[in-house]
């Protein structure tokens, strides 16, 4: 049993089934990656775990069934999510964006804020600017920072490197690894499958809403079938 588990998830957009019984899971101190072709339901898995998408199946956090809880309740239990698009509050300043991340916290979040600034110095520089005026990469960092502000135990990342320059990608992956080292459970959907799988502890290959392959990142990378079908090699 993993720390965060989604079991036998089913979901549909209207009449179109999008998840057809897939299962994912991640432990604390572990990085799991979900890969698969477009439309396979990668992002939907995340939404189902967060309760943003009505779904059937079990969602367990630390062994407790949270599938009946609202998104907000799940967040308060330590889940944090960084969406791919629309991931900032555009008419609010950077610092306000980060503060919203700490919305559920009642303690002093200044230390966490400093941590975020150390991680992304550009955010400190632009902390008074409106998030809507930042570039795509910078927004990604704001979103990332906002998620960190909740001091989550589980981080769900939806394509964190999309549209980010290669140098930042490496940095982001480094940060993700750092989070993992800090005993957080990290689950991410990644388009950049090669690189993601190479650092992942665990990988889930999704096809048409079902698990096609599951294994450690290394194992999946070296699986010829997986490579041929999904990694474009």
């Amino acid at each position: 049993m993993t720390y965060l588990t989604g079991k036998n998830l089913f979901a549909a957009y209207g009449a179109v089934p999008i998840l057809r019984g897939c299962s994912v899971g991640v432990n604390r101190g572990e990085l799991a990656v979900i890969v698969g072709p477009n439309g396979a339901g990668k992002s939907s898995v995340m939404k189902a775990l967060l309760g943003l998408l009505p779904s059937k199946g079990e969602v367990l956090l630390n062994g407790k069934d949270i599938s009946a809880l609202s998104t907000q309740q799940r967040i308060s239990l330590g889940l944090a999510f960084v969406p791919q698009n629309n991931n900032v509050f555009p008419t609010m300043s950077v610092v306000e964006n980060l503060e919203i991340g700490a919305f559920l916290r009642h303690d002093d979040y200044q230390t966490t804020l400093d941590e975020v600034y150390t991680l992304f110095p550009i955010l400190f520089e632009k902390r008074r600017q409106l998030a809507g005026q930042l570039s795509g990469g910078q927004r990604q960092q704001v979103a990332f920072g906002r998620a960190m502000m909740t001091q989550p135990t589980v981080l769900l990342l939806d394509e964190p490197t999309a549209g980010v320059s290669p140098i930042v990608i490496d940095e982001i992956f480094a940060n993700i690894l750092a989070l993992k080292e800090a005993n957080k459970a990290v689950l991410m959907v990644e388009q950049n499958a090669q690189q993601a799988l190479s650092i992942a502890d665990k990988g889930f290959v999704l096809v048409a809403g079902k698990n096609a392959h599951t294994g450690t990142g290394k194992a999946l990378l070296s699986d010829d079938k997986v490579r041929r079908d999904f990694l474009g090699g």
Binding site: L52, P83, V88, P90, M92, I100, F103, T150
Partner: protein
């Protein structure tokens, strides 16, 4: 070169007839427009029942005023309506929250299209309008008590020795002060408090707000709280200044909406700027500048005609022409508004 006195006279003349009334009217519109814009940006629909909600809040204030007066709970010289405003606000809050619970909530939960909710608000507009008429009857009601003037035009003339007077009404002063206070508090609330920031976050990006642990029900609740407060204050101030009749309030819908749209729907600052654009343009464009220029120009250049740009018959059309021109040049209003 006109004498200093004449310049002063011209300025006082303009202030008395244009600037001060426009400021007052603009402040009343601004509060209503702010309420519309809050509903739009957070609950995501154009609320057509706003004007009738204002009538409802005012009706409550009038009933309470009557009750207070009958009990002798008044302060001399001070409008009783202002004393009862907190109570009227509470009743309006309850009314709007019930409306939300019984009507709007269903559509929010079901993710209805914004336009459907607009239709729903038109339904609410009919009901609220009918209800207020049913309760209050059709007659105009004056409920302002206390002193009507801080100083009258005549007093001002005697005091200043100028030939033009500048009257200052109690209702004007309370309107401007109270509106300033209310708008200031709302902005402080939105900018500085945690809940206010949560509301702005919700308005910016609903999904992300949920993901930050913001409780949507609380945001909705707070929004209606604010909206009801602004609505009641706007309605009461307007009624103190100009008297109350249900039909008159219903007709406020257009200028309020015009203000919101001109400013940029969904932008709180825009709503306030829009309200003053509307009120000042109505006054400035239809004012007959003859007397004003008589003060400023030498006698030889004294104008014959009234120097009126547009007849007052077209006063209300003016605000719509401005509305349409603004939309053509900046299709989302002066302060870039939202499009849902």
């Amino acid at each position: 070169m006109p004498s200093f006195d004449n310049i002063l006279n011209a300025f006082i003349l303009l202030s008395n007839f244009v600037l001060l009334p426009a400021l007052t009217y603009g402040a009343q519109l601004a509060l209503g427009a702010l309420a519309v814009t809050l509903v739009y940006s957070i609950l995501r629909f154009a609320n057509f029942s706003q004007a009738n909600n204002m009538a409802f809040g005012t009706a409550m204030a009038i009933l309470l005023t009557g009750f207070f007066q009958s009990q002798g709970w008044t302060i001399s010289g001070f409008p009783t309506a202002l004393l009862v405003i907190p109570l009227a606000i509470v009743i309006t809050i309850i009314c709007l929250l019930l409306t939300d619970r019984w009507v709007y909530r269903y559509y929010r939960i079901n993710n209805a299209k914004s336009i459907t909710v607009v239709m729903v608000s038109i339904g609410v507009m009919f009901i609220m309008g009918g209800l207020v008429q049913l309760i209050m009857g059709p007659e105009q009601q004056i409920f302002a008590d206390g002193a009507r003037f801080i100083w009258t035009a005549r007093e001002f003339k005697t005091f200043s020795g100028l030939s033009e007077g500048l009257a200052l009404k109690t209702s004007q002063l309370t309107t401007i002060l109270l509106a300033l206070l209310a708008v200031g508090l709302v902005f402080y609330f939105l900018q500085k408090t945690k809940v206010g920031k949560a509301m702005r976050a919700f308005s910016d990006n609903e999904d992300l707000a949920l993901l930050s642990g913001i409780n949507p029900d609380k945001v909705v609740f707070t929004t209606w709280l604010l909206v009801a407060t602004l609505t009641t204050i706007a309605g009461v101030l307007f009624g103190l200044d100009k008297g109350f009749s249900p039909l008159q309030y219903h007709l406020l819908l257009l200028p309020v909406f015009a203000a919101v749209i001109v400013g940029g729907i969904g932008s709180p600052l825009g709503a306030i700027v829009g309200a003053f654009v509307i009120s000042f343009s109505e006054m400035l464009l239809t004012y007959a500048y003859k007397k004003f220029f008589i003060y400023l120009l030498p006698t030889s250049l004294e104008p014959d005609s009234l120097l009126q740009l547009i007849g007052t018959e077209y006063k209300y059309a003016v605000s719509f022409v401005i509305l349409i021109i603004v939309l053509l040049i900046k299709p989302t209003g002066i302060f870039k508004g939202k499009v849902l």
